[in-house]
Point group: C2
């Protein structure tokens, strides 16, 4: 058991490492050299140009202005200054709402912390149960529920507090749900014309022996949506073409590298080996070889492009159908088309950027089978992943290596290598698995057949959360691998499981405090440093970059990884809610995490990340649901804990809590979730009418004709496309540039704050429209 | 433990009582006197008139034709002769599909029984485990799994059989789901024009200070469904008016009674007391008093009618909105209208007959609160209903009575009364509760706020099934009240619960065999006798009937009680599936139940029942889901049982079964359920186009104007209304009468059999249209 002193030491170390990261960031970000790593968002928006273009040579790489170093902390107020509406405008609704998760954490836990410290800490502290056995217990436990004697009347406080915390959390959650769904609807309503407003994705088009897919779609919608149908685009299977294009790009990179190498040192032409990874095979002239390869690929691509467009076999039974009005599209997306509910499936088309093209042609039956397979696979992954890991670990142990690889015997006996194998290797195997876990989960979601990147990420996030819950949360509380827990759960009664866990919870408080500091504090501070993109950018810059456009491509702004980030936040919600009543000492640590993460991610969203897609905060129901489940879990464990404390009188009063919480969830689901799944006809009609009045002669057909073309076909006209893709931004940017003054530092937010209430959103947006 | 002999005796008794019922029915139904009790359906359809009108006096009451007695069993082939399509035409789709549940029972259990007897009975019988302890085990147990020794390799047979039975059941279920959903869509497609095809029920209309509800509805739909909206009817709160009308009817009955009494014995005018139940108060002339009462009520009714129509306070925020086309209605019913998902809620309007008027104005929040309350109440009802019952029972015991009612002491001491109280009273209390249970569940569903009678019945059926599962099935297997079971379940591990139940299952086989015979065989035979309607009809006939119209009203055809009947069938499915592998001896008893019930209910549906509403077999997803849950339950219990038999090798192979079954359920849900919840646009459009071509000048507005008027407003024009309500039948009956020859006996089915495939349904229906 750790004492307060131990915790203090650990806190000091973690605070120090977090500070080191932050200071490193503060210095690195001021170097013009790194400007593209720390402010890529502004480059992408065209509001910032390379500082390397002008000035003295040294100045181009290192910032010699000492005054800017004094103000190194200004990024914090700068990050906080931009008002939310401008943030939505700047980075999209997804990012702005993602930040609200951290804010929600603060909103829930600040009052909870204050109340817990005002009420529960004195109640715990003024007992003396643990004095007798001072050896195994520490001061931290004096602050926890363990210090209250068995059967004490003080447990009433915990019951009352559990109610208070639940009601506060639910109240905040409800407000937040209302706010986010309002923001979403307003954003959709005030947004400019977008192709996905008019378009519906139709899947599982039944094959017809007499008609092509395209004709079939046209006839079906002309008959069943007369007066609304406008045009459609059939989906082609361009997966092979996309692969070829990707290969070509990689070869082009190598060519650039060799050419740059040659231009720097023109005395010897670079060579390479043609075999595996460039390690084996014939040695050839690298530039010639790459040029030939690229030519070959270019030919293949043009052949494949012909096939993808003209071969009827490459036409997939799916299409993007566009309508004359938003109303028509809203109707088609929300209704059932055919009497056979497995064909002519319609749903809102995701944004063109958000479409996951590979999955557009999976038939219904194989989709359900894939779901089954993935369900079973995920179950085994969660509960039995330790078995292969342990096997690999035993292989990688000294004894394992000695047995299997006798020729290595001498090497292993070297003390340094031996200690490395013993100390690091087993942990490393696990660590590598955990690093690859989000990727594995993403692959599983892709296999399952979801159609948009946003859905893929949401699904992966749910799975990652479940994995974390079982393996990090439960795994830490009840020591032992997940499959051992599974065994325990099968053998324990429904009443005993919360008891077993409930009893263990107070004892693990110190572990989780350390976990929060390492994973939360230092992790978030590491996030802002962007060490990996920093290194990669400079490597690329050195080896590949020739033109300004190359440099543009070498920037990797990245995007918010919803599938990894959100489950992490949820773990903190879970910890906070579980420990709020049990060990209030843990709460300030969570508060610091939420505060720090909020500032850091706000900075990153403003200056770095460039979202791949916009899902209009479609993830909020998931976020809400997981916090509710954390609430219910905390209540069940508290019941288990209190029932072992012989608090026979107060425990039954807790039974109503989970029932009420689940009911609250159902209420919110009915009240707010439809805003995230349906597009109300009233809104669609309003928007249609407005647009018709404002812009009566718009040629919608031309606008929608090529909106949903496979990205690989846009390749030749790549530049215009990118402009198209960010059209929404660049279009609306017309008056934004005038707001920005500072191009050197983090931009100062505009003075047009516009208030923070969502009701003023449409006015602002309206006025920014032509 | 019962021996085979005991079972035989019990079977003999029950077969005998069933036979007595059937013979009594066969005789009673031939008496012209009872004609209206046993063939009311034909009277309602106008195809049969009172035989009492003509012939000799004796002949009018008793059938003296001895030849008809010889053919007393002919109702069985008669009931089976009518082809399904004609049955759908005659009694509606609901009834026809209800019969398919029994047929499904036969389809599943005939092959299962054959296989089980061919394979499992020999496997069980050829063991000799139970020989040693012959005292506690009987021959029945020799046929059950108990006779297989621990750890025997023979348990592989059971594993294989469990797979075989599951696959067969799923295969049959899938076919049946496909068939029923096909029937439903065909019925809807081939059906005549109905108001509910064009109408959508709109609830939670937001109040507007400037507009009345009616104006508000009109504006909203004119704006948001332009070109589709036709007309609407606002719902009035006529609950009080309906009460008054009901009162008037009851007073009218009393008046009729006294007038009849006076006309039979004109020497003294009947008198009655005005007080409570006619037992106390002033003595007055009954005919004058009733006439005055009726006059008073008539006045009140006309005042109340004015209020209900004209007072804005009695206008409820709900309306039936009609559209110009089925397409428009289908679109409106399936989409979300407003950005606030709790207002402007739209759903398919139920049939006018099916509307449950009282619940049309419950706001969203109170609806969710009501759901919570009923959820909790049902939990307590299921698990704790025995507590009040036991309390009443203890009150009703000898000691209880002696303590509380000392003045009764002498009465109680009479031996006959004493034994009555001891033997019958406690059982009677429970029996009364169980008789009222469906009513209680129905009241709960009504409180919950469902909008149509069909939904109310479906909901009550789910609850009744759960109640039966916990209290009849589990309650019989693990002896003890439900709350004791709850306690057991909380204290046992997830692994032990199936074991405990699994072990108890084979021991309860004889109990359930007896249960099937008493509840199933004798119950079904009693059903056909219609003892209660028989008595009530003759009482009414004697005391109230003056005119032919009165006699019409005295008939009580009743309807299929889905909320009580279906859960009973489901219990047999559960028993059959659970015992199929364990004690195959039980299966023939179930087969006889399904066969007998099928014949009896087919007869009742053809000759007696008159459905209140038509829901187009909307209950099938529930039926399917409950059979699936019975399958999963049977698999879990079998796993529990086998794991105690030390069949360590074969048990793990069973784990895949529930997973596969649940997956199958999800597959079916996605594949077939939408047919029961949505109206596909393609169908709607097809039907619209057809109708427009056939009947281009139809005045839809006039047709829909008063379709959804509260039944109480139709009172004055009652006769026409009734015609209206059965319009679909009477309209289509035009060519049916020529088919019927026999008016005395069960009608002979028509020769136009039309095949049994659903594909021929539209043709027949089409041709019967004008």
């Amino acid at each position: 058991m750790a004492t307060l002193g131990d915790i203090g030491l650990s806190a000091a170390i973690n605070i120090l490492s977090a500070l080191v990261f932050l200071v490193a960031f503060a210095i690195l970000r001021l170097q013009p050299f790194n400007d593209r790593v720390y402010f890529p968002k502004w480059y992408l928006k065209g509001l910032r140009t390379s500082p390397t273009q002008s000035g003295a040579f040294a100045k181009r790489f290192v910032n010699l202005d000492w005054r800017s170093y004094i103000k190194f902390w200004t990024w914090v107020p700068d990050a906080l200054k931009m008002p939310e509406l401008e943030l939505i405008d700047h980075a999209g609704l997804d990012s702005a709402v993602y930040l609200r998760i951290y804010l929600l954490g603060l909103k829930i836990f600040v009052p909870v912390t204050l109340l817990a410290w005002a009420v529960l800490v004195p109640v715990h502290w003024t007992n003396s149960t643990l004095k007798l056995s001072d050896v195994t217990f520490s001061n931290i436990d004096k602050l926890s529920i363990s210090n209250v004697p068995l059967g004490s009347q003080r447990f009433w406080t915990h019951t009352v507090m559990a109610y208070a915390f639940t009601f506060w959390a639910c109240y905040t959650l409800k407000n937040e749900y209302a706010k986010v769904s309002g923001l979403r609807l307003h954003f959709i309503a005030s947004d400019r014309r977008r192709p996905d407003q008019f378009t519906v994705l139709v899947r599982n088009i039944p094959s017809d022996p007499d008609e092509s897919v395209s004709e079939c779609v046209e006839h079906f919608f002309l008959v069943n949506h007369p007066g609304h149908y406008l045009t459609h685009q059939v989906v082609c299977n361009a997966n092979k073409l996309a692969d070829l294009v990707k290969q070509k790009k990689s070869q082009q990179n190598w060519l650039d590298y060799y050419q740059l190498k040659y231009s720097r040192n023109s005395s010897n032409r670079p060579t390479k080996k043609t075999g595996f990874l460039g390690l084996f095979g014939e040695k050839v002239d690298a530039i010639d070889y790459q040029t030939a390869e690229i030519e070959k690929l270019t030919k293949e691509i043009s052949v494949e492009r012909e096939i993808a467009i003209n071969d009827p076999k490459s036409i997939m039974p799916a299409a993007f159908v566009s309508f004359k009005s938003r109303w028509g599209a809203a109707v088609c997306a929300q209704t059932q088309q055919s009497r056979d509910p497995t064909v002519w499936l319609t749903e809102w088309a995701p944004e063109p950027r958000d479409v996951y093209w590979k999955n557009l042609a999976i038939p219904y039956v194989s989709l359900t089978i894939k779901r089954l397979i993935i369900g079973v696979a995920f179950f085994f992954l969660t509960f039995f992943f330790m078995i292969p890991i342990t096997m690999v670990q035993s292989l990688a142990s000294i004894e394992g290596l000695q047995k299997r690889a006798k020729f290595l015997k001498d090497v292993i006996e070297v003390p340094f290598i031996k200690s490395f194998i013993q100390g690091v290797l087993p942990g490393l195997v696990l660590k590598i698995f955990l690093i690859f876990l989000p990727t594995i989960l993403m692959i599983m979601s892709k296999f399952e057949g979801f159609l948009s990147i946003s859905t893929l990420e949401r699904r992966s996030a749910s799975r990652y959360y479940l994995f974390n819950f079982v393996n990090v949360f439960l795994g830490s509380i009840i020591a032992g691998a997940a499959f051992e827990q599974l065994n325990t759960f099968l053998h324990q009664s429904a009443e005993d499981i919360p008891k077993i866990i409930g009893v263990a919870i107070p004892m693990k408080a110190t572990f989780f405090i350390t976990y929060i500091m390492v994973d939360g504090w230092a992790g978030v501070a590491g996030e802002i440093l962007r060490l990996k993109p920093l290194i990669i950018f400079h490597l690329k810059n050195f080896f590949l970059v020739k033109t300004e456009k190359d440099r543009e491509e070498a920037m990797d702004p990245g995007s918010l990884g919803f599938n990894t980030g959100e489950p992490q936040i949820q773990l903190y919600f879970l910890l906070g809610l579980v420990y709020a009543v049990v060990t209030p000492l843990l709460l300030p640590f969570i508060l610091i995490f939420f505060g720090l993460a909020y500032v850091v991610f706000r900075h990153q969203i403003i200056n770095v990340y460039n979202q791949e897609y916009e899902s209009y905060a479609a993830f909020w129901p998931d976020v809400h649901g997981r916090i509710i489940s954390a609430l219910v879990i905390s209540q069940l464990f508290l019941m288990g804990l209190l029932s072992t404390k012989e608090a026979a009188l107060s425990t039954p009063f807790l039974i109503a809590l989970p029932v009420l919480t689940i009911w609250f969830h159902l209420f919110c689901k009915g009240r707010y979730e439809p805003a995230f799944t349906h597009y109300p006809l009233q809104e669609a009609m309003m928007k249609d009418t407005l647009e018709r009045a404002r812009d009566p002669k718009v040629n919608l057909k031309a606008y929608l004709q090529n909106a949903y073309i496979h990205p690989v076909f846009k390749n030749s006209e790549e530049d215009e496309d990118e402009n198209d893709e960010y059209g929404r931004f660049t279009g609306e940017m017309e008056l934004v540039p005038t707001k920005r003054q500072s191009r050197r530092n983090t931009p100062v937010p505009s003075k047009v704050s516009g208030g923070s209430s969502p009701s003023s959103l449409p006015d602002i947006q309206e006025s920014s429209l032509p």
